[in-house]
């Protein structure tokens, strides 16, 4: 049904001075899906999204949004694409309802402004000047402005940054409704749970590149069914430990004194590990058997915490 991708990025490079903010990034966003661009601050998420929004011209590579060049074809794209900037974008003195009505008036078939405002919990602050809205209200107004023109595709740059859990939940519900109605959503986030909960596709970005991508399940499965983590003194002889374990098990010291075994984690494996520890005079602490999270994936790929 939807053959052409909504967004296609190939080999995108964007430099600021000698620093490459985006360094050979590839990404394809299928129409009608929610894609999360996940990564730490400075990974190149915003630069990538702003290139797709037509704000920046690539230094190298090719970007196509709805089949068009976001820089050269900006006039044709603007009505079709909804944009939520990472911060601001609103007159300090404008009233919340006034700004939303104004954005609606720039479009041919806008949503019902009152219903949308109430849907996002802005009903009570329609006459409040923007600068007096809470941070969460400002975020939700920016989100409303992104969707009021009934776009085919929306770019949400960190839509839940600074939101309380309830407002965050409301934003997630809205993203799910957009998807259910056929809107393609690209959002950036550094919350793993957000990416896991919302998206069909996750692209993990670090150092200006996509270092892993797939569905949240694919990324978390990552080839190994399970993992066993434990803490102990640093620099244990993992090679010796592995000799005691079944083939196909692997071991890694993630940070000094923090170990992870991956493979078929069953009761026997746990018993073998603890008895090996006993023989070697190691008291393992924080033993846990767990499935991988996107946070683990990120840590494994980069050796760094996501936040």
């Amino acid at each position: 049904m939807h053959s052409a991708p909504a967004v296609e990025i190939a080999g995108l490079v964007k430099r600021y001075g000698s620093e490459a903010a985006v360094d050979g990034l590839d990404l394809s966003v299928a129409t009608g899906t929610v894609t999360a661009v996940l990564g730490p601050n400075g990974a190149g998420k915003t630069t990538t999204i702003e290139t797709c929004e037509g704000f920046r011209r690539p230094d190298a590579g090719r970007v196509r949004v709805l089949g068009l060049d976001p820089y050269a074809d900006a006039p044709a794209l603007r009505p079709r694409v909804g944009v939520m900037l990472q911060n601001g974008g609103v007159y300090p003195g404008v009233r919340a309802g006034e700004m939303l009505r104004h954005m609606a008036s720039l479009h041919a078939h806008p949503l019902d402004v009152t219903a949308l405002g109430e849907r996002l919990g802005l009903g009570g602050c329609g006459r409040t000047p923007y600068r007096r809205l809470s941070g969460g209200q400002q975020q939700r107004l920016a989100l409303a402005m992104a969707v009021v023109g009934r776009p085919e595709l929306v770019f949400l740059d960190e839509p839940t940054a600074g939101l309380d859990p309830q407002a965050r939940r409301a934003t997630w519900d809205l993203v799910r409704e957009l998807r259910a109605d056929g809107v393609t959503v690209v959002l950036s986030t550094h919350h793993m749970d957000e990416a896991e909960q919302l998206s069909d596709h996750v692209a993990i970005v670090d150092g200006g590149r996509v270092i892993a991508e797939g569905t949240p399940e694919e990324l978390c499965r990552g080839g190994a069914e399970n993992s066993l983590r434990f803490g102990g003194r640093p620099a244990l002889d993992l090679a010796a430990l592995l000799k005691a374990l079944p083939d196909g098990t692997s071991a890694a010291e993630l940070t000094p004194g923090s170990y992870r075994l991956t493979g078929t984690v069953d009761p026997q494996l746990l018993a073998t590990v603890t008895s090996w520890c006993a023989q070697n005079g190691v008291l393992p602490d924080r033993i846990s058997v767990e499935r991988r999270t996107l946070e683990d994936v990120f840590l494994e790929l980069t050796g760094r915490e996501l936040r």
Partner: protein, 267 residues
């Protein structure tokens, strides 16, 4: 679906830009409301020009050329009203527009609007409309006050209109150049400073004849001096088309708008 959810199909895409004239009209209306809602700007655009007009017409503090000492307010207002009209144009097209646009740039408003269906030139057209609307309101108010003080203007409306438009273009170019290149705080400070300097040194209430010859020669080339002298030639002395003043304003307008177009940074 949660019970707070929106009916299915609400967000089904139906994109499209509003017709261009409607977009520009909506943007111009919003920009006008933003300009008029700003308290500090009203001080500059309404309160100061009105006060200066009333004060300097009523009180004989500055010796005005061709106005004998002790002459009535009606003689003084004939001299002052054109300069105050020029000041009104300066306050809105330059100071007000520079400060507002500088902060819109700083707060990402210009960037957000650039992602909307409204083209950039449409935004600039809307800003110009807003400036013109505010100027019309200023001219109406100041004209009424001047008449109350006994003003008897001469000259043709076409020349006056042309001068006001040329002055608006000149000041808009310079204001946008400042807003698009300096930090918002620097624009705020500089635009106010320039306003005060031009108020004093631009022939608005202090006649240029008060300055030494060399200084005066330079001051006469300022857009504010060209506008206030041009308006005075027409409105007080009944001159025809003031080509010299229009020429000076035209050069400033071309230079200012070209520099703004070249150097303006949207974020």
């Amino acid at each position: 679906m949660t019970d707070t959810g929106t009916p299915t199909g609400t967000f089904t895409p139906e994109p499209g830009a509003a017709p261009l004239p409607r977009m520009i009209a909506a943007q111009a209306a919003l920009e006008t409301r933003m300009l008029l809602r700003h308290g500090e700007q009203l001080l500059l655009t309404v309160v100061i020009p009105t006060l200066l007009l009333v004060l300097f017409s009523g009180v004989d503090v500055v010796d005005l050329p061709d106005v004998p000492a002790g002459a009535g307010a009606d003689r003084r207002v004939d001299y002052l009203a054109p300069g105050i009209l020029a000041l009104a144009v300066l306050s809105t097209a330059f100071t007000g527009q520079a400060i507002a646009t500088g902060f819109e740039r700083r707060y990402g408003v210009l960037k957000r609007l650039a992602a909307s269906p409204l083209p950039r030139w449409g935004l600039m057209a809307a800003k110009t409309c807003a400036v013109l609307v505010v100027e019309v309101l200023q001219v109406l108010l100041l004209t009424a006050v001047a008449y109350a003080l006994g003003w008897s203007p001469h000259g043709g409306p076409a020349a006056v209109l042309l001068l006001l438009v040329a002055g608006t273009a000149a000041f808009s170019g310079l204001g946008l150049l400042m807003a698009g290149t300096l930090r918002a705080e620097a624009t705020l400070a500089a635009a106010n400073l320039v306003f005060v300097l031009l108020l004093v040194g631009g022939g608005v209430v202090v006649p240029l004849e008060k300055f030494p010859g060399a200084v005066r020669g330079v001051l006469e080339l300022l857009p504010i001096a060209a506008l206030s002298d041009g308006l005075r030639d027409v409105l007080r002395d009944g001159a025809g088309m003031p080509w010299g003043a229009l020429g000076v304003l035209g050069v400033w307008a071309v230079l200012g708008l070209a520099a703004a177009a070249r150097f303006f940074r949207w974020e």
